[in-house]
């Protein structure tokens, strides 16, 4: 399963406190991008590595960790990258 592989890679590279991966591939089956075999996934990740980094930098960290997976297995990746301190803030506001 690609979902498991993404989880394994991100856990090893970024040591997240929280990690959730959703496979949205079924919703995109049949469109041009899905034809090449790459799936659509969404990642919610809380990791210390994101502290003090811009959104672009956070996404770049994730893309770098996934490396060649972004060329083959993954066609599109939705990302919600949160630092632990932001996560705590959000939890309090809720």
């Amino acid at each position: 399963m690609i979902t498991e592989l993404i989880k394994k890679v991100l856990t090893a590279e970024l040591q997240p406190e929280q990690l959730e991966i959703i496979d949205n591939s079924a919703a995109h089956a049949g469109h041009a991008g899905a034809a090449s075999g790459g799936g659509h996934y969404h990642v919610t990740i809380v990791a210390d590595a994101f502290e003090g980094k811009s959104m672009v930098q956070r996404h770049q960290l994730i893309y770098k960790a996934l490396g060649d997976m972004m060329k083959q297995q993954i066609h599109a990746l939705g990302i919600n990258a949160i630092s632990p301190s932001e996560y705590t803030k959000e939890a309090i506001n809720e």
Binding site: H31, V56, H59, Q60, Y63, A76
Partner: protein, 107 residues
Amino acid sequence: MEVIERIKDQLEKNSVVLYMKGTPDFPQCGFSGQSVQVLNACKAKFAYVNIFEDPELREALKSYSNWPTYPQLYIKGELVGGCDIIIDLYTKGELLKMLAEADAVAA
């Protein structure tokens, strides 16, 4: 012109550039389409590059920006992000500010 030079040239001559799949009128990917919608909602004046028409640039820009997917939005030569970030900045009201600072909002 070398492909990297071409990219730099595009980013230098246009304060807002969207590298996308398809065109603003006929986007060929949902994420590119959503990004265009958000820019239009901001009344942004932007240039676009259809990466399907330029396979060499399509590959080169990925390594130039350390960003493996499209769309990619640039404001004043800086990578702003892909669809997720564009929408997030829009809902926070920040995208409009960034576009205004780049003098890229239609009157």
